[in-house]
Structure formats: C-alpha cells, structure tokens
C-alpha cells in the first residue's frame, strides 16, 4: 500500500522489528504493518513475542504465526478465511499460493503478486 507511513517502525527504541497485528487470539496468522524482508524480526503488537519472517512479505499481507498443516483452516479475526493448500512453515508468507477460499475457486488461479486472473484469455 502506498502512502501510509508507520511511525512505529524504527522510531521507538524498544520497538525494533516489523510490527504485526494479531487480530484475534485464536488466529494462526498476523497482518504486517510494514513490509518484511526474509529474516527480519516481526514483532506481534497485541500478543507480544517476535518471530523471524521466512519469506519477504509485502505490507498488510499475512504471516503464519506457527506451522499450519495442509488442509488446516486459516484463522484471521477469529474467522475461517480459507484452507491451507500445503504445509505452511511458521514465519511464511500466507497468500494465494498456499491458501484457498472455501467458496471461490477462482482464488487458486491468480498471479501471486498482482492478483490478476492468469486463466483469462484476451483474444
């Protein structure tokens, strides 16, 4: 997302690391409030604790808080937002490549970075 600055990142002595929101206690993913590079330390704001990012993760995208096995439900806001398409290690980027909707079959055929439908023919 362009335009949003996050003063929490790097301005507070005690708050090093990439800030991330845990929206509900039972969630197995967190939402990053700044982009992370692979290996960056991610700091969970509400739940406390830190975790190293296993991938580069864009701003406002999700990171696995713990190991999520294939077929397991992914929870955000305490709500089932989809199912893991494969085993997801702790710290990994959780998005279109490893998470699918329970309803919308289209979400499995989208470009990971742009979200554009790669199956659509233009002719």
């Amino acid at each position: 997302m362009n335009g949003i600055s996050n003063p929490m990142n790097g301005t507070d002595e005690e708050s090093n690391g990439i800030p991330a929101l845990l929206l509900s206690e039972e969630d197995n993913v967190v939402t990053l409030l700044s982009p992370a590079e692979r290996g960056d330390e991610v700091r969970i704001l509400s739940g406390g604790g830190t975790l190293a990012a296993a991938d580069s993760i864009p701003l406002y995208h999700k990171m696995a808080l713990r190991f999520i096995s294939r077929g397991e439900t992914v929870l955000k806001y305490g709500v089932a937002i989809g199912r893991a398409r494969q085993d997801i290690p702790a710290g990994a980027w959780v998005h279109l490549h490893n998470l699918e909707s329970f309803l919308d079959e289209k979400s499995s055929f989208l470009d990971l970075h742009t979200g554009v439908d790669t199956g659509r023919r233009y002719e």
Partner: protein, 396 residues
C-alpha cells in the same frame, strides 16, 4: 444528555436537514429539473432515468421524498413516462410534506418549463418554511448507515472497525444503525447467525445470505478484485471480515430491503440484491452511489462511507461522513475526507478515543456543521433498474 434541534415529521421521525427535492420522473426531464434546482439553497435534484414501469424505483423515490431530512418535493415529469409525478406528489403531501408537480409537455419548452418550475419551487419553499416544526432530538432519534468502498487493507483494520465501534455506542443509546453489502459478508454465515437477535432475524439473515451465495456462484464472481489480492487479501472470506467489522458487535435485529425503514431501533442489515427473476451478471450494486442511495432509502439521516483509497462522492439529503484508515489518503484528499482513522494503526490513538472523536464530529454535523461532501456540493444520485419483491401481495 446530548441533544440538538432537528425537524419533526408527521410520522414522528426527525430530520437533521430540511431539503426540498426536485425530482425528475424520467431522464428526458432531468435537464429541466436540474435547471430548476440550480442556484437554490437547500434544494437538490434526484430522479429516475428509465421511462419504464418500475415498482422498485417508485418505492425508492417515495422513500426519498418522505426521508426524515426532506421537507418537501417538486416532481417534474416530461409527460409520456410511466412514473407519474402527480401520484408521487400526492403520497408525499399525505406524509405532511408540501409537494407539487407538473409535466413539461403541458407547460411549454425548456425555458418556459424552468420558469414554471422556479415559480412552483418558490411557492413550495414558503409552504415548507411555514410547515417547519423545530424539535429537540438526540442519538435515540438518529439512524446512521454505513458502507465501504475504494477499500484497502486499512479499511478492515481501522476504518471499518472504528465505524463498528461508533455503531455499538449509537445502538447502546437507543439509536439505529444500518449496514449493507451482503456480497461482502460471504463466508461469514456462522458469525452473522450468532449475532441474530431472534430466530426470525436468523431466518432472514440465512435467506439473504443464501441468495447472495447463489448469485455469486452462478456468475462465478465474488466481490473481490485484483487490487484487493495485491493489497494482501487472499480470499473473499478474508475481505468479508474487514467489511463485516463496520457492523460492530451488537445483535442484528433483522434484514431490511431497499426502501424499507427499520421497524425499531438497533442494528439492521440491508439486503440490496435484486430478486433472482431479474438477476443477471452486473445487477448487483454497480457503484458506491447506489449503495448510499439504499441506505438513504432506509431513512438514515447520516451516512458513513469508509474508504481506504479515498473517494470524492457525496449524496443528496444526508451528510456523508468519509472515514479513511489510511493517513496518506487523508492527507492527499483532505478536502474530501472527514475523518482520519490512520492514527489507530500507527498506535497514536486507540479505537475508544477515535470513536469518541468521531462521535463528536457526528454531533457537530447533526447540529448543522456541514460534512466535506456537503461543503463541496456533492449530491450524486442513482436509482437502478432493479426489482425486489416486498413480500406483499401485488396488485395487477
């Protein structure tokens, strides 16, 4: 207790504004209607474009001419359309609001019709002023509608949850709150049912939900787009969570359809999806203005529009309060945006403090301060060519 002066209507509802509407009953009368309303204070123009016979549009026009913020209406027809300005004026008049009408074809050409409209409008204004009944009103008399559009990730994290926090406070004080966008509740049936106040409400929610899922499945299109995916939302269920946050946490009393007023205080869900008979791809709400019209049709005196990416739109009749969770958007579009919820994400403020601040802004707007869209003169309107059954027997 917080109170301010509003306008009493004969049905007991109270308005925070006293608009006079100039309504065109077909596209062909739009130019004349707009000319009549042009340059007039507290007068705005709305209308229905198609010449066809549409019960949904008639209900919506009457919901707007009898809106709590409406004091009177002038209906302008061409003369050959199905929608009858005389009938609309009669029903509006019967609601205790001065109303008038005329056909352009009976009157003369553009210039003559505009002059006739201006003359009738001046007379109507006098009647509306004489008819004005100032009344004390407070949160318990207020109905606020909320929709989101031009969303980014901040909408689900800050903008919508903040609107939800406001809704909780409004409902707790006896006010009314309406949220919509059934298409962005897909995936959340258990959560919605858990919040249904009564078994009847649960049944209404389930029916509206099933209808929406059937629609999405049949057109293979859920309400999520490439920009949403790129912004970090991976599934419709996840996007729905963010949109759902604007409903707050209070029990859902029931489902209302377009042009239906809630039958009591509290939190209500609006279902604006057309009935299956008329449902084809593209018939769900085509843009944010139509969503705002839906909320207006439920009698909401104040409208919230949560937009992470920013939007300039406003509405006739009611102030639109535009809230963004993205401080960058707020800075870039400050002339349009009313409230910056971005400081919640940066940790500079909390939801409770921000909700208090938003509440004080709404209170000032109820007391007569104008929202940004009102100041700029935004009065976008749209009445779609749709159909929704009222559930009542229909006359042939």
């Amino acid at each position: 207790m917080t109170s301010w002066t509003g306008y009493l209507r004969s049905d007991g509802s109270k308005g925070i504004r006293d608009w006079i509407l100039v309504v065109h009953t077909v596209e062909c009368a739009r130019f004349v209607a707009e000319k009549i309303a042009s340059g007039e204070e507290n007068v705005c123009c709305i209308g229905y474009d198609p010449c066809n016979d549409n019960e949904y549009a008639i209900r919506l026009l009457l919901a707007l001419s009898r809106h709590p913020n409406a004091g009177g209406a002038l209906f302008v027809g061409l003369g050959c359309e199905y929608t009858q300005p005389r009938r609309l004026a009669e029903v509006t008049e019967a609601s205790g609001r001065p109303a008038d009408w005329f056909f352009i074809q009976d009157t003369g050409g553009t210039l003559t019709a505009v002059a006739e409209g201006k003359r009738r409008l001046a007379a109507l204004k006098e009647r509306v002023e004489k008819n004005r009944k100032p009344v004390s009103m407070g949160w318990q008399d207020l109905s606020v509608g909320c929709e989101c559009g031009g969303s980014d990730a901040t909408s689900g994290l800050a903008g919508n949850p903040l609107a939800g926090r406001f809704f909780d406070r409004l409902v707790d004080r006896g006010g009314t709150a309406v949220f919509e966008e059934m298409a962005e509740l897909v995936g959340l049936l258990p959560e919605l049912l858990r919040r249904a106040e009564t078994p009847e409400a649960a049944e209404e929610i389930r029916a509206a939900y099933d209808n929406m899922v059937r629609y999405c499945t049949s057109v293979r299109q859920y309400s999520i787009s490439p920009g949403n995916f790129a912004g970090g939302l991976s599934t419709i269920e996840e996007k729905s969570c963010g949109a759902y946050a604007k409903s707050g946490s209070r029990p859902i009393r029931g489902v209302i359809r377009v042009s239906e007023r809630p039958s009591g205080k509290g939190l209500w869900l609006m279902d604006s999806l057309p009935d299956p008979y008329f449902m084809q791809f593209g018939y769900s709400n085509p843009h944010d203005t139509e969503g705002l019209m839906d909320l207006l049709s439920a009698g909401c005196q104040v409208l919230f529009f949560v937009t992470g990416r920013g939007s300039p739109v406003g509405a006739p009749l009611a102030p639109v309060v535009k809230i963004t969770g993205n401080s960058g958007t707020f800075l870039k579009m400050e002339e349009d945006m009313d409230f910056d919820a971005g400081p919640i994400l940066s940790g500079e403020t909390g939801f409770d403090e921000a909700a208090l601040e938003l509440e004080s802004l709404v209170e000032r707007i109820c007391r007569g301060d104008r929202s940004k869209s009102e100041i700029l003169g935004h009065r976008e309107y749209a009445i779609g060519c749709k159909f929704q059954d009222t559930g009542r027997p229909r006359r042939c």
